[in-house]
Amino acid sequence: MAVEDSAYGRWQQTVAARYKDRSFVARNRSGVEVEPVYSGLDRMGNEAEMPGQYPYTRGIYPIHYQYQPWMDLQIIGFGLPSQTRKRMDLLLEQGGSKGYFDREAYNFIFDMPTSMGYDPDHPGVRGSIGDCGISVCKASDYEVLLDGKDLSKTTVSLVLNAGSPAMLGLYLAAAKRRGFAFDKLGGNLTNYIWDFFGHSGGTNFSPRGSYRLIADIASYCAQHVPLWNPLTISEHNICEAGADNVQAVAYSIAAIIAVNEECVKLGIDPDSVVPRFGFHVRYGENFFEEVAKTRALRRVYAKVNRERFGCKKSGSLQARIHAQTAGSLLTVQQPLNNLVRNAYGALAAVLSGANGMTINAYDEALGLPTEEAVTLSLRTSQIIAEETGAVQVSDPFGGSYYVESLTDEIERRVFEIIADIDDRGGLIACIESGWIKQQVSAAAYKWRQEIESGERTMVGVNKYTTDEPEQYAVFKPDPEAARLAIEDIERHRRDRDAARCSAALEKLREAAVEVSEGRTIGSVMENLVAAAEADATLGEMQAILHDIFGRNK
């Protein structure tokens, strides 16, 4: 076999072509030269796959952190846009908010009303406004939040649930007003409307309506906002809802299958949208299992998109992964222990080859994180990146008997669950029948019972407990935020051009009917942008989408 035909030979050629003469050989403390990747034979005695090669078990890039470190995206958001802006400025000053290629990056989380698509003056949301996230309901809120930022050099991640479609409308309208061309806008919409595993609840659209809307947004973005990532499949959320790792990977892939099937049904070529889909994966519970599940996820994703959907673009086969440490494993008891938990979780993510990172704050079980805690999360990432040497070698566990065997086993079990879901009529049918929810709740309950019985240890909770006084600083949100947000939206409704706004909302309704009935695709998103430009609010747009696409219960 000629060298250039081998995996290693092809890898060498790619590296030489892509990174020119740059060397990625590092030296450790003792002066030993460390190669960027190690390889050899796999467990079957064949030449092992290299990073950056199909099916991407070992990572999606031939050279990873040695060339491009992960993006640190601390979650940020509370109160009014002006209050969150202050926290953003602090993070930036501390060396955080670093995106790829010198961009600034922000990972915005919204309060629950916003996340679900409700305005602050909706009668059912009092008490939650600006608590646990930013309150945003109109395009002009982004003028405060991102005042003076060059949006063509700022990556914005919008983390929210059922309010996702309308929120993207607000962001794009704000960018348009400030004169930024859509083809320069980089960012991410989690668009958790795919998530019927526990995170969007009753405020989500009907399952079929949700998947139709996902296709609409993806096709609009592919055409008009090509650098935008319109969908994050969150393995993390599924784990947090209680599923085990195999279930969570399988359900994540099942969600991708459901989205792709919807696209194919509507005549959208998967290769035109899939490269912009991404994953959000959870770390912090079982170190080696999490490394293996990440490798298995990348492999299964590549195989499914290529073999089942005929994708050809390499971007359609490469699972980009944003890592987050596990929020549900943070304990109220002995909260400083959470710093250690988060560090191990983050290390597992790095050794898995994750592309972005959110490390939770150690005090999140107590309430919203304090500034000190947020800074320590960032320091954790910086210590892994710049002190530990963990970044010198890509896929350092590749070839480990244990990790390779576990990767194969997770892959096998994931395909079993996917086959089971297929037999049950596909993911949407499984959501509608309640089967999915039952599977997740049963897994969550089993986990909790293991804690109760002591079979599973949680340090400080069911073992090594102490009676400690509660003396930790807890962040207190501004009680005035709700009043100010409501005054602001009332003023907004008074001052806007009411006729223009109603006309834009009427056009949104018409487009929603067309898309819902399958006559066109992409025009819901187009009309969300137009309505937001005409000063429609998040809740007003959401009400129309709920009307046409149905509600989850």
Partner: protein, 138 residues
């Protein structure tokens, strides 16, 4: 000693906008396994909680808060219980309850507060005790 008390009926509920339902779903299963009858709903308005509690004739209400609304919502529910003459119906709260939430929750008459990591056995025992006392069996 023979226990003639009927199995408690419980209303567990959280806001329709709070998507974090792992805790409340787990508590529901634990109470069910302890032979309680559990009604599990999302509410849109705090007042809805009292309407359902009366319709379902429950012996205790459990509220879950994972992301905001702890104090204001609880106060509204307590006010509605009073307005409808059932202010002795026991109310317990669980989830992310911050130190500064505790005094106003206690002042509102919340009977017990459970935070993350509270043993299920304690939660079950508390629901049982409060529900039975409400029915006059303790």
């Amino acid at each position: 000693m023979q226990d003639n008390a009927p199995n408690p009926r419980v209303l567990l509920t959280k806001s329709f906008i709070d998507s974090h339902d792992r805790a409340i779903a787990t508590i529901a299963l634990a109470l069910r396994d302890a032979a309680m009858e559990v009604v599990l709903i999302d509410y849109e308005q705090p007042e809805d909680v009292v309407t359902v509690a009366l319709q379902e004739d429950v012996d205790i209400i459990g509220l879950s808060f994972m992301s905001g609304g702890q104090v204001e919502t609880t106060q509204k529910i307590v006010a509605e219980l009073k307005r409808r003459g059932v202010d002795d119906l026991p109310l317990v709260v669980g989830g992310v309850i911050r130190p500064f939430d505790v005094p106003p929750l206690e002042e509102a008459g919340v009977r017990e507060i459970f935070r993350g990591g509270a043993p299920l056995a304690d939660v079950v025992a508390t629901f049982q005790r409060l529900a039975k006392a409400y029915r006059g069996y303790a």
